[in-house]
């Protein structure tokens, strides 16, 4: 596959529940090493769009139309089998509540092993991949002996990312990955996302509502409201000089310390 061709290409995606359109994404592409953020207020259809892109809406009552192509494979209307082959190894998900998204009855090591085996990775190779991924997310390997409720939120979130990394996912979709975390930890995870994008050329699609945070990590921003995209473009352009009043309202509302401030130049 061509390095320049996007990992994710969405065109005319529209999701309806019982005839009501709750989310639409006319056009979106995420390239390797790129972080794209979707922002908007609650109910604007951010999560729905993300879920549809991962093909996780297939079994629900949602009507999905349009096209979502991940590494050249069409997701919309794809069979369970195709989707399964994409999931994990090509695209992965990181959810908001870190501990709740990990199985409570399984040690983390077992979970990651299972996932690798599921994708046909042999035992020996699995061990290598796991320690590689754990290094990448800066996690101590002894965490693998623990259950989800025995690790901190930041650790759990980093582990979820490690899962995606070790399966080799090219596209990682993250739904508000830091909003359940403490401020100090939040920054760790953001840094990790940025670093993986740069070092491993992972493509990221991140849902967020904190514009300050978005301004720090995203290359591209999509602003959504009531299921529609109101503004999209490079982060600097959209947040630096918003054209749509809704974006402006969002920006104004952010309770933020003045840029720079203590400890920053």
């Amino acid at each position: 596959m061509n390095a320049a061709s996007p990992v994710l290409q969405v065109t005319g995606l529209s999701i309806q529940y019982g005839g009501r359109r709750v989310s639409s994404l006319p056009d979106l592409s995420v390239a390797r090493g790129e972080v794209v953020a979707i922002v908007g207020e609650s109910g604007s259809g951010k999560s729905t769009a993300l879920t549809a892109i991962l093909g996780l809406l297939a079994e629900t009552s949602a009507d999905v139309s349009g096209s979502v192509s991940v590494l050249g494979t069409e997701v919309v209307g794809a069979s369970e089998r195709t989707l399964r082959s994409l999931r994990g190894s090509e695209m992965a998900l990181v959810m908001q509540s870190p501990q709740a998204s990990l199985n409570p009855t399984m040690r983390l090591g077992r979970l990651i092993h299972r996932a690798l085996r599921r994708h046909g990775v042999g035992k020996a190779e699995a061990a290598g991949r796991i320690s590689d991924a754990m290094t990448a997310v800066r996690l101590d390997e002894q965490i693998l002996d623990r259950y989800a409720h025995e690790v901190s939120g930041g650790q759990a979130q980093r582990f979820a990312i490690a899962l995606a990394v070790c399966l080799g996912a090219q596209l990682i979709a993250a739904d508000e990955p830091t909003s359940a975390l403490d401020a100090t930890v939040q920054l760790e995870v953001l840094t990790l996302i940025r670093r993986l994008a740069e070092e491993r050329r992972t493509a990221w699609l991140v849902v967020a509502h904190d514009l300050a945070m978005v301004s720090m990590i995203a290359d591209h921003v999509i602003v959504m409201r009531d299921g529609e995209v109101v503004e999209t473009g490079p982060t600097r352009a959209v947040l630096g000089d918003p054209t749509h009043e809704y974006t402006r309202a969002l920006l104004d509302a952010v309770p933020t310390l003045p840029a720079g401030g203590v400890g920053h130049v």
């Binding site: 190894s89 998204s101 990990l102 409570p104 989800a148 409720h149 650790q155 403490d182 100090t184």
Partner: protein, 358 residues
């Protein structure tokens, strides 16, 4: 314990402290003891409230006044109530539950014979219930809201709703007498007592036969066990299927299941390997409750299948207002209930690490 704290130090501490397990266990045991004590007192009070005269039962329906007086004396019925309670409780402490009025045997030895038989029956019914109900529940959850699910739901509802005594009669008539597939009643074929005598350790025939390698009796016992066990299993099977289904469906709405799907696991794999464990807790809790319930309910079934268990014993005790026996049965059932609950608590702790936090 702190789990929300975001740095590993606190986590370490969590781990070191988690052997609070012993304390959890002690607490549960204490609860159990309180419950058993409560049951003992309640039983005693109720037993003393029964009108009529224990002495009449003891001395026989046509006893003479002198015989009655002797019986009263012997049973200590003229003692003041607290003294009687004291006698009863101190007897309990010595493992003495008194003497049954209708079998004239120590209640302990009666129960020692009847309880294993019932445990054999109800135990195998429970195993059947899990073996049948659990897969049914999983299948229903896998195909939730489709036709298969509907069939399982309806079927398990029928099992829960059918009156067991009626089911027992029908099954016996159809499968034994009409079709001749199974023996009508009994524990095993008594002819085998002469050809391959059984050495008794636990009074649970199937178990004794198994550990002594007495295959003919084992086979015969299993053959005899099928029908009554199936009948007794009807209710728990239905309940297990429904509970499993509901718990799995609920679990499937948890975040971690979405995560597992996103990792590319198959739906059935997710159900069996990922959802079943966290979902099994309510099913287990229910099993413990049902176990005791079924033990009593076997009153209705055991008589029909000649099963010499606690059900038959209870029915006899009830018929003859055999106070010591009734008290003994009550106590034993309460103990079974409490033990089953404890066992479930422990299993849950083993299965679901979340419960290990106090």
């Amino acid at each position: 314990m702190t789990t929300a704290t975001a740095h590993p130090v606190a986590v370490r501490r969590t781990r070191r402290r988690s052997p609070g397990l012993g304390r959890v266990l002690l607490r549960r045991l204490a609860h159990a003891a309180v419950v058993v004590a409560g049951v003992v007192c309640l039983t005693f009070v109720i037993a003393r409230q029964l009108p009529g005269d224990e002495a009449v039962t003891a001395a026989g329906a046509r006893a003479t006044p002198e015989q009655l007086a002797a019986a009263r004396e012997r049973l200590g019925l003229d003692d003041p109530l607290p003294l009687q309670l004291w006698h009863y409780v101190s007897g309990l402490a010595r493992g003495d539950l008194g003497t049954s009025l209708h079998t004239r045997q120590p209640v302990v030895s009666d129960l020692g014979r009847a309880l294993p038989a019932s445990l054999e029956l109800v135990g195998s019914a429970m195993v059947l219930a899990v073996l049948i109900g659990l897969p049914l529940g999983v299948i229903a959850a896998r195909f939730a809201r489709r036709r298969t699910d509907l069939a399982v739901r309806t079927g398990s509802m029928l099992l829960v709703s059918v009156p067991v005594f009626w089911l027992a009669l029908a099954v016996q008539l159809l499968l034994s007498t009409k079709l001749g597939w199974f023996p009508v009643a009994g524990e095993y074929d008594r002819v085998l007592d002469s050809t391959s005598p059984l050495t008794v350790y636990t009074n649970i025939t199937a178990f004794d036969a198994l550990i002594t390698g007495n295959w003919p009796i084992l086979l015969s016992t299993l053959h005899h066990l099928v029908l009554p066990a199936l009948v007794v299993a009807a209710y728990p099977t239905g309940v297990v299927a429904q509970m499993t289904r509901a718990a799995l469906i609920e679990e499937s709405q948890q975040d971690h299941v979405r995560m597992e799907r996103a990792l590319g696991f198959r739906p059935l794999e997710i159900l069996l390997r990922f959802s079943l464990r966290p979902a099994i807790s309510p099913v287990l809790t229910l099993l413990a409750l049902i176990f005791a319930y079924t033990l009593v309910n076997s009153v209705l079934v055991e008589a029909i299948f000649n099963w010499p268990g606690i059900g038959t014993y209870t029915a006899d005790a009830i018929r003859s207002v055999d106070t010591p026996a009734i008290a003994g049965v009550t106590l034993v059932i309460a103990l079974v209930y409490v033990t089953a609950n404890l066992a479930v608590d422990l299993t849950q702790i083993a299965i679901d690490p979340r419960t290990r936090k106090s």
